[in-house]
Symmetry: C2
Subunit: 285 residues, 2 copies
């Protein structure tokens, strides 16, 4: 997993560096691309490709595309008009360093560029079109952007568990699921394998968010990059608040186990995918 992350850290900026654009825009894009993070989405994608015995080389641009979309969403979410965050992963957020206008444009640029990466890749045209269809749906108004809007609409009001799951499923889950489904498409999965991997993705997506909420209650500030308890101070609805900490942990275990049983049923070389799923649930940051 570390080797994979290292390769992504190298490849990602290369898709921006070679482009002709104003230096101020390039700097703002690269700042957030270099800001790191766990690279969970591309790592999940590449592990899925590997599970089908395929080389990851042809999947690298697609993996970088999904990380660009994730990065753009963080830049826009951090804006003063949105979550108004000054820090992200312990570093000043994009608009704090470059100003709001550059941050908005850097986000727009990363989002747009991600589609060029897929269209320019070495896959065949049918695969490219299918990936672009899935990615635009997962990231757009019926996916991630819709989830962020629902999240903003729901702020400062008590949410039901159903509303909370809607938000997470759209805001975080759909892009994680895309990452796994993209790996399945590149790996030429059968329809049945796709079904199981989709279910695996859904459960792992929910596990990811529940573990995030649990970390916010129990985590170590230095590791998670924000103060534990910040969600509580925000009056934000979370799994521990709706289900108690014990209930949230049970729900996490349920989704994790369900996810793994679908992974087994997909009948692929699943070792790395299994350990990434484990990392997602057991991580301390």
């Amino acid at each position: 997993m570390n080797e994979c992350k290292k390769r992504l850290d190298q490849e990602l900026p290369s898709y921006i560096n070679h482009l002709e654009m104003p230096e101020s825009l390039k700097e703002a894009m690269l700042y957030s691309i270099h800001a790191g993070g766990k690279r969970i989405r591309p790592i999940l994608m590449l592990a899925t490709v590997e599970a089908f015995g395929e080389s990851i080389d042809q999947a690298i641009p697609i993996a970088c595309a999904v990380e660009m979309i994730h990065t753009y969403s963080l830049i826009h979410d951090d804006l003063p008009a949105m979550d108004n965050d000054d820090l992200r992963r312990g570093k000043p957020t994009n608009h704090i360093v470059f100003g709001e206008a550059a941050a908005i444009l850097a986000g727009d640029a990363l989002l747009t560029q991600s589609f060029e990466l897929i269209a320019d890749s070495n896959l065949n045209s049918e695969q490219k079109v299918e990936l672009i269809k899935l990615l635009s749906h997962a990231a757009g108004p019926s996916g991630m952007v819709g989830g962020q809007m629902a999240d903003l609409d729901g702020e400062k009001q008590a949410l039901t568990l159903e509303q909370l799951e809607y938000i997470h499923h759209h805001k975080t889950g759909k892009l994680l699921m895309f990452s796994i489904m993209a790996g399945a498409i590149i790996g030429n999965a059968t329809p049945l394998q796709r079904e199981h991997l989709q279910a695996f993705g859904e459960h792992i997506g929910l596990s990811f968010q529940i573990s995030d909420d649990i970390l916010d209650v129990e985590g170590d500030e230095g590791k998670i990059g924000k103060q534990p308890g910040s969600d509580e101070n925000n009056e934000k609805s979370t799994y521990p608040k709706l289900l108690s900490l014990k209930g949230a942990k049970e729900k996490l275990k349920h989704h994790f186990d369900e996810g793994l049983s679908h992974l087994s049923a997909a009948n692929i070389k699943e070792n790395r995918l299994r350990s990434i799923a484990k990392f997602i649930v057991e991580r301390d940051h």
Copy 2:
């Protein structure tokens, strides 16, 4: 041209209405889509398709995609952190009605959705991939977004003619050129026809911007939806300022004539394209 605009006005919202998303987001997206405008880009595209004797039906989703990109760019450009405009085409801008967060997200959603429209269209996969490659390039950091960044970087400082042309070529020209090239791709143009249409697009794009600057000096407030002279009050570099009004008019005529000579050389049924080009140069709003 009016019939074409009417059809676009009907089709555009249909690509948003059928989507599942938070109502607040849908409302913000539809507001700017309904805000109208001249629909120059999609009309140019459809006229190019027609010039090759092809039915415009299969081009409608691609025409709507380019208008969504244009609409998103206006929403983001109007934001307080960018041009800080309260009015657009005489109506309150998106963030004035829905707030900044919804406006940012409505823009993100329109941008993302435009790629889904192309991927979901009835064209063949090779055409879709080529269109997505061209559109993402024209709209991204090496195109429209880069142009907007250069525009912001250059504000309140005197620009050279070269810098002004860089900004317009990227901020406005590339998407206009894409619209014509997309029509050529859908119309199965030969390489030579593409070359001439690209040159036609470049000259018409510049004509469009020069005539915009001239309108700002000479236009009627009621028709252009903003006060004439507002660029001057902004200390914004414009063609009339750099070349004098007479020089700007000469430059406009030069690009218009050059554009039309390339259009003739493309050897297609050019009547409608020619009258759209004329409209662009002679419009009063």
